[in-house]
């Protein structure tokens, strides 16, 4: 079984999911479940910290796509942070930087939720 873990915490009304290990076809359902739980409990401000994410495949990326519209329709967002160059390269190849806000640090992403709308 591939090693993949999600640590979830809440900070200033923003839910942070810290991913660890391999996010692939095998482990994607775990992330799906985590998003489902957040959405079911009306949490739509989500930051995904990828600091310890060592690999992501397109099935993993698909989970982000599956929920992004729901989340944005509810005035929320999924923002991504702390990606290793290897992980960022996959996001970049598949054109995700156009679709998602990606930050170097988790705090920047959290603060972004409290920016005044332009």
């Amino acid at each position: 079984m591939s090693d993949f873990k999600i640590a979830s915490r809440e900070q200033e009304n923003v839910n942070v999911l810290a991913l660890k290990g391999y996010l692939d076809a095998h482990t994607a359902p775990k992330l799906e479940e985590a998003f489902q739980n957040l959405i079911a409990s009306q949490h739509f401000k989500i930051v995904v910290n990828c600091k310890d994410l060592s690999y992501i495949s397109s099935a993993g990326l698909g989970v982000f796509m599956a929920f992004i519209e729901d989340v944005r329709q509810n005035m929320g967002d999924i923002k991504l942070t702390n990606m290793s160059p290897k992980v960022y390269n996959v996001f970049d190849l598949l054109g995700f930087p156009l679709l998602y806000e990606i930050f170097k640090e988790e705090n920047e992403a959290i603060n972004r939720f409290f920016d005044k709308p332009k």
Partner: protein, 585 residues
């Protein structure tokens, strides 16, 4: 040598020459350093324009680069209207060196005219080893002065350095593009191989479809999709995310017959149904049919991408591969499930057969003056046939035959139940009619009324040579007398297990003489089918019985068996064949 030439050319102050030339060289060196320090084409072009515009004191400059053939397109502009970007000219041959646009004939060359119209007065071709890769164009100089020869030389040096830097940057850019495409293909292959692995390990069709959806979302970034899988004759939607009800039935079957991935807009409508309005209303712009062994097995309909980008050929290829992989895996999962179920069924039948074998008496008790022979040939499905021979405490013998409705282990279990009931009740010493009523009541409680048993039993009293019997809805056994006359054992009541005994079962009594023969059988004998679906039939059975009634019990059993086999002649046996022959010596 240039210095020599310059001496003769202009009225420029001779004393500045050395210094100015030194300045020119230093500036060239600096220019070369700056534009070669970057691989960004925009930066390089911008720096070239600004440098030259500063040098010749012009407020407007543009760079046009050769695209393919003789086509040149404007890449960057400074001072000219930005709408000029992207403008293309066809130029068969650009004059060498720098030149004034006004010196060319605008009537002969449309591009010259166009440049003149835009206000381009000076053109500097960008040439590397006699290949023209583009040109620089500049507007009127502020001072409206003509360029000195020395300035022209200097500009040509700048142009040469620029051309090399531009080409290097273009090549790197091209390499990066190729590299990125390659990266993307590698990534796609990685995805396919990962999914191939994962799919083949998944036997749950729902999970499989979920994974397919994630991969489509992640790899292609689609927002809307419909995934259909063929199940029997119909295309069924197994997953979808669209704004409205998914297309159904006939329309899907029609779409699935399309060969290869297609854009909705390119669909060729042949029949009376035009699927395009439905697909357009759901913004489903791409169709990917999936075939397996030349037969349409699935269909993916894809909508817009979240990025609003168009689908590329590569995207379609990827989706087709992914879809094939998923359909094969779904097919495997289905076959696996079928195999498991078949195995389960066979295991169950094996159990049923074991139960049945265990219930039939292994040794038939001896009755003085009687010879008993019985056989049970169970069918593949295992019917619920049963026979038994018991000795009672008062010295009589019970012969019994029964047929439980249904097949497989439920029938076998009910049969076991019947046997246990009989064996428990017989020692009570009640009359056969009363016992049958009790057996029926107990069977009713156990079956809940949805199963039944046809049953015949009789008590042989070898002392007074009588048979007392009850027939509960079973095929009437034969009694064949020594003289060739015959009768049937019909008395009794209704079949067992349907409802509690309303009227007592009637007992029949016959007397037995030497040479008489009793033949008990189940419908597996009389209804044995041949390949033409014709039943063996009781008439044919009777003919055999009359032919062999003088023989001993085992011979009669064998004769019936062989005649039935002759009738079916290899057609699969559909039901258990069970019979018991009792011969009185």
């Amino acid at each position: 040598m240039p210095r020599q030439q310059r001496r003769h050319t202009g009225p420029a102050a001779q004393g500045d020459d050395a210094e100015s030339s030194h300045f020119d060289h230093a500036a060239l060196f600096e220019f070369s350093k700056v534009i070669n320090s970057s691989l960004e084409l925009d930066f390089i072009l911008s720096h070239i324009l600004l440098t030259i515009m500063g040098k010749i004191l012009s407020t407007r400059g543009l760079v046009a680069l050769r695209r393919d053939g003789n086509s040149y397109g404007v890449e960057t502009v400074k001072g000219f209207p930005s709408a000029l970007r992207g403008t293309q000219w066809t130029i068969r041959s650009l004059p060498a060196g720098s030149f004034a646009v006004s010196s060319l004939d605008g009537k002969k060359h449309p591009w010259v005219r166009s440049l003149q119209d835009e206000g381009v007065t000076i053109v500097l071709p960008l040439v590397i080893a006699e290949r023209t890769i583009g040109f620089l164009g500049f507007g009127e100089r502020l001072a409206r002065k003509k360029l000195h020869a020395r300035e022209i030389t200097y500009l040509r040096s700048l142009a040469n350095i620029s051309a090399t830097a531009i080409e290097k940057s273009q090549m790197i850019g091209e390499l990066q593009r190729v590299n990125r495409n390659l990266d993307r293909r590698v990534q796609e292959l990685g995805t396919l191989s990962e999914l191939g692995r994962e799919f083949s390990a998944l036997l749950d069709p729902e999970k499989l479809v979920r994974l397919l959806v994630f991969s489509l979302l992640g790899q292609i970034g689609v927002r809307r999709y419909v995934i259909c899988v063929k199940n029997g004759p119909d295309m069924n939607v197994v997953a979808s995310k669209i704004d409205g009800p998914p297309p159904q039935g006939e329309l899907l079957s029609l779409l699935a017959r399309i060969k290869g991935p297609t854009f909705t807009k390119d669909l060729v409508v042949r029949g009376p149904v035009d699927p395009r309005p439905v697909l357009d209303s759901l913004t489903l712009s791409v169709l990917v049919p999936i075939e397996l062994k030349g037969e349409a097995r699935g269909l993916l309909l894809l909508g817009d991408k979240l990025s609003r980008e168009q689908f590329s050929e590569g995207d379609l290829e990827f989706v087709a591969s992914l879809g094939n992989l998923a359909i094969i895996s779904l097919e495997n999962a289905r076959l696996f499930k079928e195999a498991i179920e078949k195995q389960k069924l066979e295991d169950e039948l094996l159990i049923a057969r074991e139960i049945q074998k265990g219930l039939l008496p292994s040794v038939i008790p001896e009755i003085p003056g009687f010879q008993i022979s019985a056989t049970n040939v169970s069918s593949k499905q295992v019917g619920g046939d049963y026979y038994d021979v018991l000795r009672t405490s008062d010295g009589r013998h019970i012969i019994a035959i029964g047929d439980v409705s249904g097949k497989g282990s439920p029938a076998a279990l009910l049969m076991a139940n019947l046997q246990a009931t009989i064996r428990a009740l017989v020692p009570l010493g009640l009359s056969l009619g009363e016992l049958t009523g009790r057996v029926n009541d107990l069977m009713c409680e156990n079956t809940g009324g949805d199963k039944f048993v046809t049953f015949f039993w009789g008590a042989i009293n070898h002392r007074d040579m009588t048979l007392t019997y009850v027939n509960a809805g079973h095929n009437y056994p034969y009694v064949i007398h020594d003289d060739g006359t015959s009768g049937r054992l019909e008395k009794g009541g209704m079949i067992l297990g349907v409802m509690k005994t309303p009227v007592a079962y009637e007992e029949g009594v016959i007397s037995l003489r030497g040479g008489d023969m009793l033949v008990l059988f189940t419908d597996g004998v009389s209804e044995a089918m041949n390949a033409q679906q014709q039943e063996y039939g009781e008439e044919r059975l009777e003919r055999v019985l009359h032919r062999v009634h003088g023989e001993d019990a085992p011979s009669v059993v064998r004769a019936i068996h062989d005649d039935v086999a002759l009738h079916t002649s290899g057609a699969p046996q559909s039901d258990d064949i069970t019979m018991m022959v009792v011969k009185i010596r």
